[in-house]
């Protein structure tokens, strides 16, 4: 398989160089003749202007090696660039700092050709040594980079070699179907700025929020201008950025990109209404409706990008270490372990009313964890379980349950079926889902009690103490690809939430899931992989280790004159293409 981005970029020599009067771009344009630039296909825009985006909290660090919080990832992705990038609109990979690459027949060796003549945002040149240095840091055990785990396949690390100044070879220990996607978000960092810190073992303390901006550089569309602690992070245009539009004009268009801290969503809505910020994302359906009503008067446009990769579910505790330690939980697990019981619960839940009441119809009902928004991997042949109380009752009867005179469900020993449903208290939507589930279960005689709990405490029960009956929670897939789901689906996975710490698969269907997921990991052909993953979804829909409920839509908005605004369902939903965003000339206000 050989992949080339030939349609997306042209050789640098053919590029008409766009020269502006600005002094900042002088050096960049002088060297542009030898620059291997990326030509975008989106609408050509107009330079200038500022864009303000509100975030819940400030980034905790500007160091891509150790960053894990969403705010830091979002800002770092503007300051830095990766070798191969996942285009958020197509959900497919595209060339970034690697202009093209080839893959060996067995799918283990990737040879990447780097773009020539590129410069970091401080004007220093970029070559293969920066790539080697970056991966050396990511793979170094002592650095504790969370990125490292992505590049360890079955216990072995990927090997990185430099073939020449602009060619790098990655050798994976075994075929890895998601290899290309792993490169997304792995920033290539300037060796000249970070080598000293790394050698002194201080890379973890490098590039904090108090580092002077001139000491931080990258290959991203923007560079750091200023950090005001707790208040805002200001980025400015990187004059050396390696993308140009169809007219040959160097990106990005915006002069400045500012991230302000607005801790609550309601306050974010108010700031957006007032025009203090010009993009808003991750809206609840209620806030979306409020803003939608003001579209005309306040000159913004709201977008429903469709169901995202978050899936909400009801999960029963199937852990095996409760016996003796938690007798009450263990007693109820006899019900939970019976697939007919889980199926009955699934049939008793009215997903349509969850979608209508909680999400105002801006969500998709689910049969498995794969949301219909995941274009490449969703199996549309699996039907969402229909809401049917009579079917649920049939299933329960077949499983040996019966009803007392007052419609209370009792098990074969005469015990009433009663359990608690934990839910994180800070997430209003999930708390509402839990209440609706509680109501639906009443119809089949099950008495469930919703217990709202601070999210960390609830997570602690799920992950560590296993002291819970059932929980309503949500997970977000990191990528459209199946591989990030490995940890949830494989029985030894660290987020195999319903039954943690399995030495061997506890059930035949978990054994089948293990096998299927391992197989998809090494199958390179998409069609074959898709077939395997369809079977995974089928098993999940039958066995219901989680009772999958709903995927909310990604609801966002922007000022109406913001050009090239194309919200996506993979993070960062609204500003993944910040380099292409531009302001249309003021027809209304700006």
């Amino acid at each position: 398989m050989a992949l080339q981005g030939a349609t997306l970029f042209v050789a640098a020599a053919l590029l008409p160089v766009f020269a502006t009067a600005q002094t900042a771009t002088q050096t960049a344009t002088q060297t542009a003749a030898q620059e291997d630039l990326f030509r975008t296909t989106s609408e050509a825009g107009i330079r200038g202007g500022k864009l303000v985006i509100a975030q819940r909290s400030e980034p905790r660090t500007l160091n891509p090696v150790i960053a894990i919080d969403q705010n830091a990832l979002g800002i770092n992705a503007r300051l830095q660039a990766d070798l191969i990038h996942i285009n958020r609109a197509t959900q497919k990979t595209e060339p970034a700092l690697a202009r093209s690459w080839t893959v060996s027949k067995d799918g283990t060796v990737f040879t990447l050709k780097l773009r020539r003549g590129l410069r970091f945002s401080d004007g220093q040149p970029f070559d293969a040594d920066d790539v080697l240095f970056s991966f050396q840091m990511y793979l170094d055990e002592k650095v504790h980079s969370s990125q490292r785990d992505l590049m360890i396949i079955s216990g072995k690390a990927v090997k990185v070699e430099k073939l020449d100044a602009f060619t790098v070879r990655f050798t994976f220990p075994s075929p890895y179907s998601a290899a290309e996607r792993v490169f997304d978000g792995l920033a290539i960092l300037p060796r000249h700025l970070l080598e000293k810190d790394y050698q002194e073992g201080k890379i973890g303390q490098a590039w904090t929020l108090s580092t002077p901006p001139e000491k931080i550089a990258g290959l991203g569309a923007f560079r750091l201008k200023q950090v005001v602690p707790g208040d805002r992070v200001v980025l400015e245009r990187n004059p050396y950025y390696w993308k140009v539009d169809g007219k040959g004009q160097r990106l990005p268009y915006l002069d400045e990109l500012t991230f302000i801290v607005v801790p609550t969503q309601d306050a974010q809505v108010i700031r957006f209404q007032a025009g203090d910020s010009q993009i808003i994302s991750s809206l609840s359906a209620d806030n979306y409706a409020t803003l939608e009503a003001e579209e005309k008067t306040r000159h913004f446009k709201m977008y429903d990008a469709g169901p995202g990769l978050e899936y909400n579910f009801l999960m029963f505790n199937l852990n095996s270490d409760t016996e003796g330690r938690l007798p009450e939980v263990a007693r109820k697990q006899k019900w939970f372990r019976d697939v007919r019981f889980r199926e009955a619960v699934s049939a008793a839940i009215d997903r349509a009313s969850i979608i209508r009441l909680v999400y105002r119809n801006r969500a998709a009902a689910l049969a498995t964890h794969v949301s219909p928004g995941n274009k490449g991997w969703f199996d549309s042949s699996i039907a969402v379980p229909a809401h049917s109380v009579s079917h649920a009752r049939d299933l329960l009867r077949a499983a040996g349950f019966s009803w007392k005179g007052d419609n209370t469900l009792i098990d074969s020993t005469g015990q009433p079926v009663e359990f608690t449903i934990l839910v994180g208290s800070s997430n209003t939507q999930r708390a509402q889902i839990a209440t609706l589930v509680q109501n639906d279960l009443k119809a089949v005689g099950i008495s469930a009690h919703v217990v709202p709990m601070e999210i960390r405490s609830a997570t602690d029960r799920v992950l560590n103490t296993h002291d819970y009956d059932a929980i309503v929670m949500g997970l977000v897939s990191g990528d459209a690809d199946p591989t990030p789901d490995m940890n949830v689906l494989v029985s030894s996975g660290q987020t195999h939430l319903w039954h943690l710490g399995e030495k061997a698969p506890a059930t035949p269907w978990e054994a089948e899931l293990d096998e299927l997921m391992q197989k998809q990991l090494v199958t390179l052909n998409y069609q074959q992989r898709k077939k395997i993953y369809d079977r995974v979804q089928e098993v999940l829909a039958q066995q219901l280790p989680m009772v999958y409920l709903a995927s909310p839509d990604i609801l966002v908005g922007a000022q109406e004159n913001l050009g090239n605004f194309h919200p996506a369902i993979i993070e960062q939903y609204t500003f993944w293409n910040a380099e292409e965003l531009f302001w249309h000339p003021p027809a209304g206000k700006k």
Partner: protein, 322 residues
């Protein structure tokens, strides 16, 4: 005077130790730690988490962690933020300044309004103006501070007269120091107003109650009988006599204002201690939480100490004791 102050400061120091130990114990009891969120991240392996736990010293026993924190506090770092990878002090100082920027003006304004108004209300006791006043303060007291802040934001949004949050405008810095200061002041109006409204009522009611108590004493009646003018009676004699409990209240009002301020900062996106504390509690960023609470305790102790100094200056009885 010095001895009196030293004793008071000593009490404060002991309190700080007590608070810090309590915080460590409470955090120990809270389920989950900073790394438990990472456990949910399928990208991070358990080995990485174990290594990080060791690096942050979270695998150490509690007394050892407390001792390490004490040592780091002695260096002025106040522990290490897991989330930010920096000493907690670098996060706390700039935000503490912003919090003080709100609370100090609010404190002064609250007292400047509350004292004359409270004395007048006491003087009008039983008349319609006093009843109106009591009804008004009761109603305000019943209003939650969050609601006051949200109402203020709503007014700002509807009228467009005030900014709807934040500390400065995006372009403020480009326009010179004076424009920046004006912009800052403009952004301060609503949060300070919300703080004043939130804390004013309690002070008002205290002032009124203590002045009424004094007015009913026999020496005040005697003074009234001698035909002293009403104004002089209220402000010249009643207020100084009622000052003692009020000065004690001053110290307490610092604490009250701070707690309201943390909340208003979150609602109005003011970059003070409040949003940082909230984030850090949710993230279980241990030392930042402890640092922020210790800082609030220091403010509280400082407020009380100031109250003590004022009391010492005003009340001869205390001077004799000391």
């Amino acid at each position: 005077m010095i001895r009196y102050l030293a004793r008071r400061a000593g009490h404060g120091l002991l309190m700080l130790f007590g608070v810090s130990i309590l915080l460590f114990l409470l955090f120990q009891a809270a389920p989950g730690d900073f790394l438990s969120e990472m456990k949910m991240n399928s990208q991070i392996s358990p080995e990485t988490i174990t290594m990080l736990r060791a690096q942050y010293g979270l695998d150490q026993p509690l007394p050892e962690r407390y001792w390490r924190w004490l040592k780091s506090s002695a260096r002025g770092d106040f522990g290490y933020s897991f989330a930010y990878n920096t000493p907690a002090s670098t996060l706390l100082w700039p935000r503490a300044r912003n919090t003080l920027l709100l609370s100090v003006p609010a404190l002064l304004i609250s007292w400047l309004i509350a004292v004359p108004l409270g004395v007048l209300a006491a003087g009008w006791k039983g008349r319609w103006a006093d009843r109106l006043f009591s009804g008004g303060t009761s109603a305000l007291l019943a209003l939650p501070d969050v609601l006051i802040a949200l109402l203020a934001l709503l007014v700002a949004l509807k009228t467009g007269m005030f900014p709807v949050g934040g500390m400065t405008s995006i372009n403020a810095q480009d326009q010179g120091t004076w424009a920046w200061l004006r912009d800052l002041g403009w952004h301060m109006v609503l949060p300070v107003a919300a703080l004043v409204v939130g804390s004013l009522t309690i002070i008002l009611r205290h002032v009124r109650a203590s002045v009424i108590e004094v007015l009913e004493s026999s020496y005040m009646r005697a003074a009234e009988g001698h035909g002293l003018p009403r104004f002089k009676l209220l402000f010249g004699y009643a207020l100084p006599a009622a000052a003692n409990p009020l000065i004690s209240l001053f110290g307490l009002s610092v604490a009250m204002l701070l707690s309201v301020s943390l909340l208003i900062e979150v609602v109005m996106s003011w970059p003070g201690i409040g949003p940082l504390l909230l984030e850090s509690i949710l993230a279980r960023d241990l030392f930042v939480v402890i640092g922020a609470v210790m800082l609030s305790t220091v403010f509280l102790i400082a407020g009380n100490l100031l109250g003590d100094v004022l009391l010492y200056a005003f009340d001869p009885r205390i001077r004799r004791q000391a």
